[in-house]
Amino acid sequence: MSNIIGIGESPRRKEDFRFLTGRGNYVADMKRPDATVGVFIRSPHAHAAIRSIDTTAALALPGVEVILTGDDVAADGLGGMPCGWGISNAEGVPMKEPAFPMLAQGKVRFVGDMVAFVVADTLAQARAAAELVKINYDVLPAVVGVLEAVRPGAPQLFDDVPNNLCCDWEMGDKAAVAVAFRKAAHVARLSLVNNRLIGNPMEPRSAIAEYNAGTGHYTLWTTSQFPHVVRFLMAALVLNIPEQKLRVVAPDVGGGFGVKQFHYGEEAVITWAARRVGRPIKWVADRSEGFVSDRHGRDHVTEAELALDENGKFLALKVHTLANMGAYLSTFGPNIPTNLYAPLLGGVYTTPVIYCNVKVVFTNTVPVDAYRGAGRPEATFVVERIVDVAAAEMGIDRVEIRRRNIIPKEAYPYQTPMLVEYDSGDPMGCLEGALVAADVAGFAERKAASEREGKFRGLGYSTYVEACGLAPSRFAGRLGARGGLYESATVRVHPTGQVTVLIGTHNHGQGHETTFAQIISEKLGVNFENVDIVFGDTDRVQFGMGTYGSRSLVVGGAALSKAGDKVVVKGKKIAAHLLEAGEHDIEFKEGVFSVAGTDRSKTFQEIAGAAYVPHNYPLEVLEPGLEEQAYYDPINFTYPGGCHIAEVEIDPETGIVTLVRYTAVDDVGTVINPMIVEGQLHGGIVQGVGQALFEGAVYDEVSGQLLSGSFMDYTMPRADHVPNMNIQTHSTLCTHTPMGVKGCGEVGTIGSPAAVINSVVDALSHLGVQHVDMPATPNRIWRIIQNATMPQAAE
């Protein structure tokens, strides 16, 4: 019975069964024989010198195996945590790149900085021992905000990083922008904050490491989005161990959102410690530990200016941003607020010249790195907010000003002034579609109904574009990437004709086991249930850069498609031999090789059998076996985009903002599985709504303590915070990826914060409100309303 399920269909997910029945295999679920438990001792201070560490009493406790500190790291001559990107200023001067030790050496620089690692037989013993480790600190003044960090006299994190400035980076044509501003009929100005976020995947980070003294092999099971990169970085740059003797496994991973796409010090410490202890070690972060050690996201302070002519046409955009790096450079850290931010400041508009300056700044906070969207939500928020401000100031309707500036469909491919060239898109089509889908025509009536209830109602637009499918290696290399960004896939056809795919991306909720199987089912004409997808194990999968930046389908799927093509090519050669025909006369369709114009044919299964039982086989020209591998390096980014329309209702009595309607019309290129794409959009949008309305990491400005350090203090969207969303696609095909795909993992998070805040500002516009910073909490909104309606009470 044929069950070929291909592109455009929505089979239910292959991976569901194990998760629905409690049979998932997350790192914390695994048990190794004779395992010990590891606990990290973390700095309670934001900034302090370590005077001494005394482990005597702790080591005397029963069950304690070892306590490792920065001195042990130094004694073993181990490297620090590497940064994968090296950016430079306009003169080509490289960024400041201070050492990021695995365990603190001499100084701690954020609350949560790792000071020591305690290994004992049980968790209780390890925790008891950690309590007894005496660490004497000289507490130093701390700085947590970017504005404060660059001020003269600010506490300095590093002796050789003056003013805490990692890099004064820029992109764009400053002189041309200055000329354009002189010609402007109107200049809109906006100061804004992009709030600091904590990704909080539901599964806390965890790891198990073991060392086999018999073979010299290490194994690390870790909650990672990119196990091969962890292996490479850790083996080559941190622990100096042979790469082939280190196996990194990322089994089922309970959500990532970027938080798990970095090489963390915990991974290196536990692997190093496993050899010293000679027994497996398991570490599972509790949530409060995650809050002070998972890399944070966003955290920008920005001044933007948009120059317009008298008709509301954009002439130039100028953006100055201070971006918080936290205390050290994380794996992708300096790349996020620069290369993944500035190139998107053109948005979907024809703005001819743009200049962006980003000061990348160290502070006494958790290192900041990529979080879903990474740089692109920040860019979209700047652009879509200032467009609304300009519209309001010039008295132009917000949709009309967008129509006047949107890049027309026929202008694609479109070279922006900020390096990137959009290959395809139809932002106007998305906008027009969204206006209908959101019933914008009926908004006035809904607003009037809200007013009768004493509520304010607002509508907000976000017409956005992003760059994903990370990334063309050559392009990334010019921007400072220290690695490649291709992907690899192997299609292993078994003698039965059933297929195992080995791919370098990592599936942690995205549904790859299903969508990748669809690609191969269609390409090889193999039944959907006969295709299994393997990922997340460096001993099984050849290589891979992992999953982030909406790259899995775009880059990994392309590698898979190419590997599948190679299988067909070889299959045709085998079929030509068996069918005694010329190779070019063989056609392949729906799992059958046939000689064109005849009824002579062989099934895919028969060809696979012949490849592995080569009795009648062209051995002199063709190897037995049917397994092909492909690496794919994209030639451009992909540019998904669309139009999101949010509608909110605000209760002026409480300041509570309720998201009442949400519409998204997105262009993600070819859709492999509509059900999964819609699910990705749902999740992405709600994370963006979280940033707009609820989420924000808050540090105490004096002590540097993280005040929002648990799920009690850091609000994330819950089921009753959000409405059902109306999701539609309006696709144009990517012109350079094999299947026309663009990626969909991040679009929701990129488009939604601006749409939601624009709707909040719209709801408050009758009070003269021009901007509201995120998150738009009841407290913040209530104060804005009070200040606007009762000016005498403002102070």
Binding site: L20, G22, M202, G255, R287, F711
Partner: protein
């Protein structure tokens, strides 16, 4: 201490330290790792199990409290042994794409079971309110809500007999 209770339909006697949390007992002592721990503050709901038919966060319950009671975890819902048969609520989550990374899923399904036990035909608003104690970071909740409404309907449907 010795604790006697019914676990997933089977009488069990477990010897645990009195300060052991039920989540810890399930995962560490009984190797039932389908019950997940996602926070330290009883906020996330990944550890929800059914205790005497009520949804409880197993990270807030001490093992001795189980004495004489009936506990149901995700492992007890369906698919015994090598079977691939899902409970109608699990099937509804599968059919409606009510899960992505799967980490919150056991808690969501068990919460849904308790919800439907008390309210066989919940509305969308009731389901959303009923999920107040469960966080999902992947799905945006929409498909979870759809799944629970569909699961409730399937659980209440008369057996077809064929």
């Amino acid at each position: 201490m010795i604790v006697n209770f019914t676990l997933n339909g089977r009488a069990r006697t477990v010897d645990v330290e009195p300060a052991t949390l039920v989540s810890e007992m399930l995962r560490e002592n009984l190797n039932l790792t389908g019950t997940h721990v996602g926070c330290d503050t009883s906020q996330c709901g990944a550890c929800v199990v059914l205790f005497n038919g009520d949804a409880v966060k197993s990270c807030t319950l001490l093992a001795p409290a189980l004495e004489g009671g009936t506990l149901m975890t995700i492992e007890g819902l369906a698919a015994k042994g090598g079977s691939n048969q899902l409970h109608p609520m699990q099937q509804a989550f599968h059919q409606n794409h009510g899960l992505q990374c799967g980490f919150c899923t056991p808690g969501m399904v068990m919460t849904a079971m308790a919800m439907v036990g008390k309210n066989p035909k919940p509305t969308e608003a009731e389901v959303r309110h009923g999920l107040e104690g469960n966080i999902c970071r992947c799905t945006g909740y929409q498909n979870i809500v759809t799944s629970i409404i569909a699961g409730a309907a399937a659980m209440n449907a008369p057996a077809t007999g064929d």
